[in-house]
């Protein structure tokens, strides 16, 4: 079945340099540096990436960081809690706009 997303395309991510090498090289160098051990551990960064992958709803990123968090020894509970953090932020971002709705309603209402 043909779909917009093909799991095999994830392995071709590095090929984006074929059309613009300079920017691709810079991106991958930056990406490598970001995910290295730093003030945050590589493990913590991987869990953040897993949460963000769900927030931006990128299937490639979800595949990649589900594997990466497993490899880094994260438990399934930790992984799901990270997804809930993404969900809470997205849900909260929706709900906090309810204040704006309330403001407008109160402005227009008697």
């Amino acid at each position: 079945m043909e779909t917009y997303y093909n799991p095999a395309d994830l392995k071709k991510f590095g090929n984006i340099g074929e059309f613009q090498k300079e920017f691709a090289d810079k991106f991958f160098a930056y990406d490598g540096a970001v995910f290295a051990e730093g003030a945050l551990t590589a493990r913590e960064k991987s869990l953040i990436a897993l949460a963000v992958a769900h927030a931006v709803q990128c299937p490639y990123c979800i595949d990649a960081y589900s594997s990466d968090t497993l490899e880094k020894g994260c438990s399934e509970q930790e992984m799901m809690e990270a997804v809930h953090v993404a969900a809470a932020i997205r849900g909260g971002a929706t709900l906090v706009h309810g204040v704006q709705m309330m403001n407008k309603v109160k402005e227009l209402s008697m």
Binding site: E37, T41, A42, R43, S67, L70, E71, K72, G73, S75, E76
Partner: protein, 349 residues
């Protein structure tokens, strides 16, 4: 109780069939280079041994556990056990060699009725003994309860598998209740001094992934295990070895049955690391099977890949002749050369 592949008549119990399946996937399906070609490109083929520092002896395939990833296909239904006569041949070989460490594995090596005698005799030769203890054997029967004291008496280094610091992942790989029993056994080992600072009694743990993925960085995993085991259970240990699951026997069966085989092999092959390949443990280890056969490693042993030497049995041990051999490699070797590398002592690069 889950049975071994051999007991259920699974065709993966046949080593020739396994080798065929491995080659077909790497070469015919994935169109990737066979292992020896990658090694040749890295300047490592034929792969030559260095002077052996470890004699790894598999004293039998009998085990009280039936782990899903076991490359030995070990279990309670496996009756292949090393006899005292063959143990004596190992001792004779050791006495005439410079090998300083004897690594006892299985199965559960402690289930061999001559295990304690063998450890005592190796100790008399002044060689260091390392036992790959599955932990649960210590609490499996009261006749094993004193194993921690026995290990301590002979200053045995204990190396034990614990795939995770929680029950769910551990039990899915090693069987129901294994985590709880492992924690009990670790506490017993800690109680006699194992893993305690300055005790000199070494307790190392082995992490291997509970599924079709690679182990992450060993140092970070060790940090995580130390924190979690101390906080949740008050357990201490020395080092953690991160080991890659090798696509042999029951792990190969799991990969095929779960639909992960192609993806896992591709991951291993594309992660080939020449630095890890140069440090593989088969260069400095000699492996002895339960019947005295000689192999380059325990994985080759399970695939019936004997050493490429006229000396193929421990009774004929000849260090000079064995030093001339080329190490036998095949597609499963990609497991030891991927990423940071893998050995019975953890990463190699």
């Amino acid at each position: 109780m889950i049975k071994s592949l051999k007991a259920t008549g699974n065709q993966l119990a046949n080593s020739d069939f396994q080798l065929t399946v491995l080659r077909q996937e790497v070469v015919d399906v994935l169109h990737l280079a066979p292992f020896h070609e990658q090694m040749r490109e890295a300047g490592l083929f034929p792969l030559r041994p260095v002077a052996p520092t470890v004699l790894q002896i598999n004293v039998g395939k009998m085990c009280n556990q039936v782990c899903k990833h076991c490359h030995v296909d070990a279990g309670p239904d496996r009756k292949e056990i090393m006899t005292r006569d063959t143990m004596q041949l190992c001792l004779d070989a050791l006495a005439q060699s410079d090998i300083q460490t004897v690594d006892l594995t299985g199965g559960a090596p402690e289930m061999n009725p001559d295990f304690r005698w063998f450890v005592e005799e190796i100790s008399k030769l002044g060689r260091k003994v390392l036992v790959r203890c599955n932990l649960t054997i210590i609490v499996a029967n009261k006749k094993y309860y004193d194993l921690p004291e026995f290990f301590k008496k002979h200053n045995v280094e204990v190396v034990s598998s614990l795939p995770f610091y929680s029950a769910d992942k551990t039990d899915r790989q090693r069987g129901d209740g294994v985590f709880a029993d492992s924690i009990k056994a670790l506490r017993m080992l800690n109680a006699v001094g194992y893993g305690q600072p300055d005790s000199g009694l070494v307790l190392n743990l082995v992490y291997n992934p509970s599924g079709a993925f690679m182990p992450g960085p060993q140092a970070a995993l060790q940090r995580q295990f130390k924190l979690a085991l101390l906080k949740d259970f008050g357990i201490v240990f020395n080092d953690l070895y991160a080991i890659t699951n090798i696509p042999v026997s029951r792990f190969l069966d799991y990969l095929i049955e779960s639909g992960n085989y192609a993806g896992y092999m591709e991951k291993l092959v594309t992660a080939f690391n020449p630095a890890a390949a140069a440090g593989v443990m088969c260069r400095s280890t000699l492996s002895v099977g339960w019947d005295g056969g000689l192999y380059d490693c325990d994985f080759n042993q399970m695939l019936d890949l004997y050493v490429a030497s006229p000396v193929r049995h421990i009774r004929d041990f000849d260090a000079a002749a064995l030093a001339q051999r080329a190490i036998v490699v095949n597609q499963h070797c990609y497991g030891c050369t991927a990423g940071s590398g893998s050995s019975c002592g953890g990463v190699t690069a």
